[in-house]
C-alpha cells in the first residue's frame, strides 16, 4: 500500500475529526489551528481531489445554505479505504517511532 504523505494524512484526520462539517473551509481552519501554520485554500483543494480519486474520501453536495449566498458545500467523508490507509499510516508511524523517544528524549 502506498504510503500517505504527511499533508494527506493530516487532511484525512481533519476530515475525520470534523465529521459532518468536513468541507474545505473548516478543514483548512482545523489544519491551520492544529499545525499552527497557515494553510492556503488552494493547498488543500488538490490533495482533497487526489484523495477522493484514490477512493480514500467520498464527497456529497450539501443543501444550500443562506450564509454562503445560497451555494452548496462539498462535504467530505472518510471511506473504508481511507480508514485503512490511516490505520496503516499510524502503524508505520508507531513502528518507526518505537523505541526512539526513550533513547532520544530520555525516559518518559
Amino acid at each position: 500500500m502506498k504510503l500517505l504523505t504527511r499533508a494527506e494524512e493530516y487532511i484525512l484526520l481533519a476530515v475525520f475529526k470534523l465529521d459532518e462539517n468536513a468541507y474545505s473551509i473548516p478543514i483548512q481552519e482545523k489544519l491551520s489551528e492544529l499545525t499552527e501554520k497557515e494553510w492556503s485554500l488552494g493547498g488543500i483543494y488538490m490533495p482533497l481531489e487526489r484523495l477522493e480519486k484514490r477512493g480514500y474520501l467520498s464527497s456529497s453536495l450539501s443543501e444550500s445554505t443562506p450564509e454562503r449566498g445560497g451555494r452548496h458545500k462539498r462535504i467530505y467523508a472518510l471511506t473504508r479505504d481511507g480508514k485503512t490507509a490511516l490505520r496503516h499510516a499510524y502503524e508505520v508511524q508507531q513502528s518507526m517511532w518505537s523505541g526512539v523517544p526513550q533513547l532520544m528524549f530520555g525516559a518518559s
Binding site: 468541507y23 474545505s24 473551509i25 483548512q28 481552519e29 485554500l41 488552494g42 483543494y45 453536495l61 450564509e67 454562503r68 449566498g69 451555494r71 452548496h72 458545500k73 462539498r74
Partner: protein, 874 residues
C-alpha cells in the same frame, strides 16, 4: 450578513469555473473571503479574491480553446466528407459561389474605382470646384456649366480668408513641335497655385517653381517618351502652336507622372496660362466662362456655410460686367462641388473636361453584384435543405449524444463558411485571370495590385464569412431544429413547409434572372437601334481630317481641286464643326420680322460647298448651297425644321427670308430635314447651316468610293502635307466616330449582358443540382412506374413538370417588373425603341429552354435507366 466579495470578480469567477465545480468552490471562496475580511481587512481580502480570478483564467481559456478546436476539427472532417461524398452537389455549390463572388469582387473593384476619383490629391477632401448656372442659357439640355470666369479664383482667394488655395486651369488641344516631331496633344494651361491643389508625382523639376515662368512647359512621362525618347528632356525647347496660329517657344522645366486613371481630367503637358491667346482679355472679364476654378478651403471650414457667401459674390463681381449689367436676370448662380464628387455628379454639367461617370451605373452594378451573389447563396440554401433528409440521421445522433441546437447551427454554418471560403479562393483566381478582360469592358483600371493589399484579403475574408452565414443560416436553423425522436424512430418526410420555401426561392431566383435577361435584351436592342437608326446623315465612306493650319485654308480651293484628282475621292468639302456633333450654340441671331423680345438659341455650323450633298442631308424646301449662286457679300443659310418651327415660319414662307448669325447678313435659301446632328440622347434642336467656303474651317471632309482606301489615304496625306507641311496629319472615318459616341453605353451594355448570362448560368446550376438530387430520390419510384408500364415521355413529364411550373411562374412575375425597369431606363433616350411584347416572348423562351435543358439533362438519364437496376438495389 457576511461581507460580500467584489461583484465583478465574483461574476468573472463564475464564468471561469467549470460547470459542475463552481457551485461549491464559489461558496468556499465567499466564506474564506469573509474570514479574511474579519482577520486581515477588506483590502487584503479583495486582493486575495482577485488573485483567485487570475489563477483560474489560463486553465479555463486553454480548456475552452482545446475543446472548440476539437469540435471544429470534427465539423471540418464531416464537412469535407460530405463534400467528397456528393461531388456534383459540391461542384454546383462551389462553382456557383466562385462565379458569384468573382462577379462581386470585379464589380467591387469597379465601384471602388468610381468612388475614389481624384482622391489622390493631398487636399482632395477640402477642395471644391466652383460651378456655374446660367439661368437663361440652356445648352445640350442643361444650364449648368463646369466652367467659370477667369478672375474667379484669384478674387475668391483675395476676398475670403477661408480659402487657402485657389487655382484655375483650361484644357485644350494644341500642336507641340520638338525638333522634327510635331503632334496635336491635349494639355492644360494653369495659374500659379495649380500645383498647390493638384499634387501629382513629380519625376523632375520642382512643383512649386516649374510653372512660374510663362515660357515653361511640364511634360508627362509618356509625352517625354513620345517627344524625346530616352533623352533627358529638361531644358529642351518645345514650340507650342495655339489654334489661332500663334506659336510660342517653351522650355521643359519638369516631368510629372501620367495623371492617374482615376482623375476627372487628363493632360499630356502643363503650361502657364499667360501665353494663351486672349489671356489679358480674359483676366478681368466676368462675362466669359471658360476656365475650371478650384478652391481649397482651410481646415475646419464648412463648405455648406461657405457656399452661402457665393450669391453675394455673383452680384458684386459678375454683375459688374458689361454683359450682365444689361441682363440682370441672366446673372449666374454659383455652387461648390467637392473634388472627390466631380466624377459621379457632373452629368448635368456642360463642358466637363472628360465624360463624367454616372452614379446610376454604380448603383446598377452594385445591385447586379448583390443579385448574383444572392442567386448563388440561394443555390446553397436549396441544395442543403433538399439534402437535409440525407443528413437527418446525423443530426439525430448528434442531438441524442448531447449536442445543443446551437452546436448544430455552428456546425452547419461552418460548413457553409467552408464552402464560401473555397468559393472565394476560386473567385480570386478567376479575378486574376479575368481582370484584364473586365478592365477593357469597364474602361477602368480595376486592379491596383490588390493582391498585395491587406485590405483586399480582409475584405475577401469578411465577404466569404458574410456569404457563408447568409447561405448557411436557413439550412442551419432548419436542420438543427429536426426532432431526434422523429428522425431516428421513423423515416421522416421532406416536409411541406420546407419544399414551399425552396420553391419560393427558385421562383425568386428565376424571376430575377428573367428580369435581368429581359433588361439586357432591351439594352441590346436599344444600343443596336442607336447604332443603326437613320439619323438623316449618310456617314458612309466619309473621312474627316482635322486641320487648323491657316496656310491650308488660304489655299483650300486649290487643295480641293488637287484632292479631287485622287482616283478614290468622290467629293471634297469642309466644315468648322464635327458633322456628327455640331455643338456650337448661339443667341446672336436676327431674322426678318423678329420682335424685340424674341430670342432663339440655335446651333450653328459653318460649312463649305458640297457639305449637304456629301452627307445626303435632305432638303425639304428651297435649294441646297450652290457654287454658282454664291455671293461673297452675303451668307446663305439652311435652317432645319426645328428652327423654323421655333421662329414661327412655315417651310414655304421661310425660304428667301433674311437671316443672320453673329452679324453675318444673308438669307435662308432652303430648309433641311430634322436630322440628328448630336448624339441620340439629345432631341433635335434648331440648327442653322451657314455657307462659309472661304473662311478658315477645322475639318477637311472627303468622300471616298471605298476602293483601296489605304492608297487613297496615302495620296490624301501627300496632298495635304503639300499645303500644310508643319501640321500633324490625322484622319478618321465618320462612321467609326459616330459609333464611338456610344462607346460607353456599348461597353456597359455588353457588361450588363455578361452579368445577366452569368446570373442565368448560376441559377441554372442550382436548378441542375436540385433536379439531380430529386431524380436520385425518385429512382425507385421511376423504376416501379416503368415496370407498371409508364413510358419515357410520361416519366420525363413527371420529373420536369414541377420545375417548369416554377420557371413559368417566375417568368410571369418578371414581365411587369422588367417592363417597368426597362421603361425607366429607356426614358433617358430621346430616341428609343418601343417595348415589343416579342422581347418578353424571346426572353421567356430562352429561360424556359435553358431550364428545360438543365432539368432534362438528369431526368432523361433517370427515365432511361433500367428499372431492374434501380429497384433491386437497396
Amino acid at each position: 450578513m457576511l461581507p460580500h466579495p467584489p461583484k465583478l470578480a465574483e461574476k468573472l469567477l463564475t464564468r471561469l469555473q467549470y460547470d459542475d465545480v463552481w457551485k461549491t468552490t464559489l461558496g468556499d471562496f465567499e466564506e474564506y473571503y469573509a474570514y479574511l475580511v474579519s482577520n486581515k481587512g477588506k483590502k487584503e481580502a479583495d486582493a486575495w479574491y482577485w488573485r483567485q480570478v487570475l489563477r483560474y483564467a489560463p486553465s479555463k481559456i486553454t480548456h475552452k480553446f482545446y475543446w472548440s478546436i476539437a469540435m471544429f476539427k470534427n465539423y471540418l472532417k464531416i464537412a469535407f466528407r460530405n463534400l467528397n461524398k456528393q461531388k456534383s452537389y459540391s461542384f454546383v455549390n462551389i462553382v456557383g459561389l466562385t462565379i458569384g463572388l468573382a462577379c462581386f469582387l470585379i464589380i467591387g473593384f469597379f465601384i471602388q474605382f468610381e468612388l475614389n476619383y481624384d482622391s489622390f490629391h493631398t487636399h482632395s477632401d477640402r477642395t471644391y470646384r466652383v460651378i456655374e448656372q446660367q439661368p437663361q442659357n440652356t445648352y445640350l439640355g442643361s444650364n449648368w456649366y463646369a466652367v467659370t470666369a477667369t478672375p474667379m479664383a484669384a478674387t475668391m482667394k483675395e476676398d475670403y480668408p477661408e480659402v487657402e488655395f485657389a487655382a484655375y486651369f483650361t484644357s485644350s488641344r494644341t500642336v507641340l513641335r520638338a525638333d522634327e516631331k510635331s503632334m496635336i496633344e491635349w494639355g492644360i494651361a494653369v495659374d500659379e497655385e495649380f500645383s498647390k491643389i493638384f499634387t501629382y508625382t513629380w519625376y523632375m523639376g520642382n512643383s512649386e517653381t516649374a510653372l512660374t515662368d510663362p515660357y515653361s512647359i511640364v511634360l508627362t512621362q509618356s509625352m517625354v517618351e513620345k517627344l524625346f525618347g530616352t533623352e533627358n528632356p529638361m531644358g529642351k525647347t518645345i514650340r507650342q502652336e495655339y489654334p489661332n496660329g500663334r506659336e510660342v517657344e517653351k522650355t521643359v522645366t519638369g516631368v510629372v507622372a501620367d495623371p492617374p486613371k482615376n482623375s476627372h481630367f487628363g493632360f499630356n503637358y502643363i503650361v502657364n496660362d499667360q501665353t494663351t491667346p486672349y489671356y489679358e482679355y480674359n483676366l478681368n472679364e466676368w462675362g466669359n466662362s471658360n476656365v475650371y476654378t478650384f478652391i481649397t478651403l482651410r481646415e475646419g471650414v464648412s463648405a455648406a456655410e461657405f457656399s452661402e457667401k457665393l450669391p453675394g459674390f455673383a452680384s458684386r463681381y459678375t454683375g459688374s460686367s458689361e454683359f450682365y449689367s444689361e441682363t440682370p436676370n441672366a446673372l449666374p448662380n454659383y455652387s461648390l462641388q467637392s473634388l472627390e464628387d466631380i466624377h459621379l455628379s457632373s452629368s448635368h454639367l456642360n463642358f466637363n473636361p472628360s465624360t463624367p461617370g454616372d452614379i446610376k451605373n454604380v448603383y446598377m452594378f452594385a445591385v447586379i453584384a448583390i443579385i448574383i451573389l444572392l442567386i448563388a447563396c440561394v443555390n446553397y440554401m436549396n441544395l442543403s435543405t433538399a439534402r437535409s433528409l440525407t443528413r437527418a440521421k446525423e443530426v439525430g445522433v448528434r442531438k441524442v449524444i448531447g449536442a445543443y441546437q446551437s452546436n448544430l447551427v455552428m456546425q452547419f454554418l461552418s460548413e457553409a463558411v467552408l464552402i464560401s471560403l473555397l468559393g472565394i479562393f476560386g473567385a480570386i483566381v478567376l479575378v486574376i485571370f479575368s481582370a484584364p478582360v473586365f478592365e477593357t469592358l469597364f474602361n477602368r483600371k480595376l486592379t491596383t495590385q490588390f493582391f498585395f493589399e491587406w485590405e483586399f484579403w480582409i475584405t475577401s475574408l469578411a465577404l466569404s464569412l458574410v456569404v457563408g452565414i447568409i447561405a448557411g443560416s436557413y439550412p442551419a436553423f432548419y436542420m438543427s431544429k429536426l426532432k431526434p425522436v422523429l428522425i431516428l424512430k421513423s423515416h421522416i418526410k421532406g416536409g411541406k413547409k420546407n419544399s414551399i420555401i425552396r420553391n419560393l426561392l427558385v421562383v425568386g431566383q428565376f424571376s430575377i434572372t428573367a428580369v435581368l435577361l429581359v433588361s439586357s435584351i432591351v439594352v441590346f436592342l436599344q444600343l443596336n437601334f442607336l447604332r443603326t437608326t437613320d439619323t438623316g446623315l449618310n456617314r458612309e465612306q466619309v473621312i474627316t481630317i482635322p486641320n487648323r493650319d491657316s496656310e491650308l485654308w488660304d489655299q483650300f480651293e486649290t487643295l480641293q481641286a488637287e484632292l479631287l484628282k485622287i482616283p478614290g475621292i468622290e467629293q471634297v468639302s469642309s466644315s468648322q464643326f464635327d458633322p456628327i456633333f455640331m455643338s456650337s450654340q448661339t443667341r446672336g441671331t436676327e431674322w426678318e420680322g423678329m420682335q424685340e423680345e424674341d430670342e432663339l438659341g440655335i446651333y450653328v455650323s459653318p460649312v463649305g460647298f458640297d457639305f449637304i450633298e456629301m452627307l445626303d442631308i435632305q432638303i425639304v424646301e428651297g435649294r441646297s448651297f450652290s457654287a454658282d449662286l454664291f455671293k461673297e457679300t452675303e451668307r446663305d443659310y439652311l435652317l432645319n425644321e426645328a428652327a423654323i418651327r421655333e421662329i414661327g415660319w412655315t417651310k414655304e414662307e421661310a425660304v428667301g427670308k433674311s437671316f443672320s448669325v453673329w452679324g453675318n447678313q444673308g438669307a435662308v435659301v432652303g430648309i433641311v430635314d430634322n436630322f440628328n446632328f448630336q448624339s441620340l440622347d439629345q432631341s433635335i434642336a434648331p440648327l442653322a447651316i451657314m455657307l462659309t467656303p472661304q473662311s478658315n474651317q477645322r475639318y477637311v471632309l472627303l468622300k471616298s468610293n471605298g476602293v483601296d482606301i489605304q492608297t487613297t489615304l496615302a495620296s490624301v496625306e501627300e496632298a495635304i502635307k503639300k499645303f500644310s507641311p508643319g501640321y500633324p496629319f490625322s484622319y478618321s472615318f465618320l462612321e467609326e466616330r459616330y459609333l464611338s459616341l456610344y462607346n460607353d453605353e456599348q461597353r456597359l451594355g455588353s457588361l450588363f449582358n455578361y452579368f445577366s448570362l452569368l446570373a442565368l448560368f448560376i441559377a441554372c446550376m442550382g436548378l441542375f443540382g436540385l433536379a439531380t438530387y430529386i431524380s436520385e430520390q425518385r429512382t425507385k419510384e421511376i423504376g416501379i412506374r416503368k415496370v407498371l408500364g409508364a413510358n419515357v415521355m410520361q416519366i420525363l413529364a413527371l420529373l420536369n413538370k414541377d420545375f417548369l411550373k416554377l420557371v413559368g411562374i417566375s417568368f410571369l412575375i418578371s414581365i411587369p417588373v422588367s417592363w417597368y425597369i426597362s421603361g425607366i431606363w429607356l426614358e433617358d433616350f430621346a430616341y428609343r425603341i418601343e417595348l415589343n411584347p416579342l422581347i418578353f416572348v424571346v426572353a421567356g423562351l430562352i429561360v424556359f429552354g435553358i431550364a428545360l435543358f438543365t432539368v432534362s439533362f438528369n431526368s432523361i438519364k433517370t427515365a432511361l435507366a433500367n428499372p431492374v437496376d434501380s429497384i433491386k438495389s437497396e
